[in-house]
């Protein structure tokens, strides 16, 4: 449905998007993940025909975004970072205007408007002026605008920004509900959002793609190691030596918490065997007091940090 090949966008000397290639299948939800300024918005703006690429191609539903821009724009719905709203219109008249400029014939508009209002939970706000709505409702009107004309492809730039936790869950449900009949690209810098809603993730940093995979695969990539955190009342040196002797341990980092006088350690252990009970037994044997012992699960967060930080080792060490 969407094919991007070697897409590059340069603003003068700055390359915002650097030879990016990926594709999205019909009915799939693709998450675009990256820190602020990674090139997510620029890529989306190129896909929507808002701005041209410096080089490379992008096709949506078979149409090229530069040479067939109007055809592409007929098939997409787009929610930019700031919802494009007219404050002195009512929600319904705004959606009606959007349908008109999307070339939806008059006899279908009424039904489409009520459908979009229902999907985005705007309920009784239809006749309200947009400027009187709260931030969360405005964001939903923005979403309604992107899907009201029932486009093949929906592109959402940070769709959950400015919403409260309850609304975020609602929006995620809504997006999941749209999959299958619509192909969706959404961008975010919130990691859990991706694992919860997306079928596949593109991780982008400084304009370059650093990983493309399913959220599950990305998390299992780092499953080779396991992390354990230990906190105890013990002398620093012998504590470290003891932990280093646990079978399978590849590294131990020990630090002293000044306030409590406790030492804490993070061990990296080869996975497959749970050594926590062994660690506990050894510490008790020595007569030290054990305060905490838990496995630290590697999240998308770790992968993300590893992939997007130049000095990955350093950042791990400082954790």
């Amino acid at each position: 449905m969407i094919e991007v090949a070697d897409l590059t966008k340069a603003y003068g000397p700055v390359t915002a998007v650097d030879h990016v290639s990926f594709s999205v299948n019909e009915g799939e939800i693709l998450g675009f993940l990256g820190p602020n300024g990674a090139g997510k918005t620029t890529t989306m703006r190129i896909l929507t025909g808002f701005m041209p690429a410096t080089s490379g191609t992008a096709r949506i539903a078979g149409f090229d975004v530069t040479t067939d821009s109007l055809a592409v724009r007929r098939h997409i719905g787009y929610l930019p970072e700031t919802p494009p709203l007219y404050p002195d219109m009512t929600v319904e008249s705004y959606l009606d205007f959007v349908l008109r400029i999307k070339n939806v014939p008059g006899d279908k508009r009424r039904a489409r408007i009520s459908e979009a209002i229902e999907k985005t939970n705007l309920g009784d706000k239809g006749t309200e002026l947009i400027k009187r709505l709260s931030r969360g409702y405005k964001q939903r009107v923005g979403l309604a605008q992107a899907l009201v004309h029932d486009p093949l492809v929906i592109i959402l730039d940070e769709p959950t920004v400015g919403l409260d936790p309850k609304q975020i869950i609602e929006v995620r449900h809504l997006i999941k509900g749209l999959a299958g009949t619509h192909t969706i690209i959404l961008s975010t810098h919130i990691l859990p959002e991706v694992s919860m809603t997306c079928d596949r993730v593109v991780i982008i940093n400084k304009g370059k793609i650093v990983a493309v995979d399913t959220p599950q695969n990305l998390t299992t990539q780092l499953k080779g190691v396991q992390k354990i955190r230990v906190e105890a009342q013990a002398p620093e040196k012998p504590f470290q030596e003891l932990l280093a002797q646990i079978p399978g341990t590849s590294s131990v980092e020990v630090s002293l918490a000044r306030a409590s006088g406790h030492v804490t350690a993070t061990l990296e252990v080869a996975s497959g065997k749970d050594v926590r009970s062994l660690v506990a037994a050894r510490i008790i044997e020595k007569g030290w007091d054990l305060y905490e012992l838990r496995g630290v699960s590697l999240s998308l967060e770790d992968i993300f940090l590893q992939l997007t930080t130049d000095d990955a080792a350093h950042s791990q060490a400082s954790n």
């Binding site: 025909g49 109007l70 724009r73 930019p80 007219y86 002195d88 219109m89 205007f97 008109r100 400029i101």
Partner: protein, 255 residues
């Protein structure tokens, strides 16, 4: 694509009349034109008392009213009507919606231009009452030809101002900047031949032709000069074209 053009036109009209802009501008225009109409009327009636019987009071009155007064009021009021056309869309981010919808730039620009022109027509309409008053109560009767050509002239003149204003509005995100530029640039085009004493030289003739106000004066004398019509139509087409190019170039500029 008439449908999308109409959609933009409709939205723009809604915007004018949902916000105070249209009401304030129209009301201000009507109040000022009514006050000045009375002043001109009194002045011309007094002047005509001592004049020979062939003094054409009604024509003088119409020329002062439709000519001098309207053109000056337009210069002050129209920039307020056009300054928001594109600047506001850019500031609010709604330009991104328009530019990612299946609608051509030229439809956006013409839709907005026609909306401003309609507001302008709404503004002019009530002033016909004063003209009808002159027509009914004067001797000799004011020539209808002058009335029609003057209204055609003011319409073309206003259209030119709107075209220039919408172009300048497309250049910036700041409405005030757009408004001030429109006022300033139009005044320059108005007074462009002020320094030239004679229209004998090529330079003098060129500047005289370029001035936006000179052609309009012919219209208020009841003369529909082709060169005047051509001048205003090309002025409008030129700036509408520039606006389309300017909107298109937004895609290439750094956002």
């Amino acid at each position: 694509m008439m449908r999308s053009l109409y959609a933009v036109y409709r939205k723009e009209m809604g915007h004018y009349f949902a916000s105070p802009v249209a009401y304030v501008v129209v009301a201000m225009f009507l109040i000022l034109s009514a006050i000045f109409f009375n002043l001109y009327l009194v002045e011309i009636v007094e002047a005509s008392l001592g004049m020979a019987s062939d003094f054409d009071g009604p024509s003088q009155l119409l020329r002062a009213f439709l000519g001098n007064l309207f053109s000056i009021l337009m210069l002050f009021l129209m920039p307020m009507v056009t300054m928001g056309l594109f600047a506001e869309e850019r500031k609010r981010g709604t330009m991104e919606l328009l530019m990612t919808s299946p609608i051509r730039e030229v439809d956006i620009v013409i839709g907005k231009f026609l909306a401003s022109l309609t507001l302008f027509a709404v503004m002019l309409l009530p002033t016909a009452a004063s003209v009808v008053f002159v027509y009914l109560h004067s001797d000799p009767t004011a020539p209808l030809r002058v009335v029609f050509s003057a209204y055609l002239g003011i319409f073309l003149f206003g259209g030119s101002l709107i075209a220039l204003g919408s172009f300048l509005s497309s250049l910036t995100e700041n409405q005030i900047v757009a408004g001030v530029l429109t006022f300033g640039l139009f005044l320059v085009l108005w007074a462009i031949d002020f320094g030239t004493r004679s229209t004998e030289t090529v330079m003098g003739q060129t500047l005289h032709y370029l001035s936006v106000i000179n052609h309009y004066e012919d219209f208020t004398r009841g003369i529909i000069d082709t060169s005047g019509v051509v001048y205003y139509i090309s002025f409008i087409v030129f700036f509408v074209f520039l606006t389309v190019r300017s909107i298109d170039s937004l895609r290439w500029r750094r956002a």
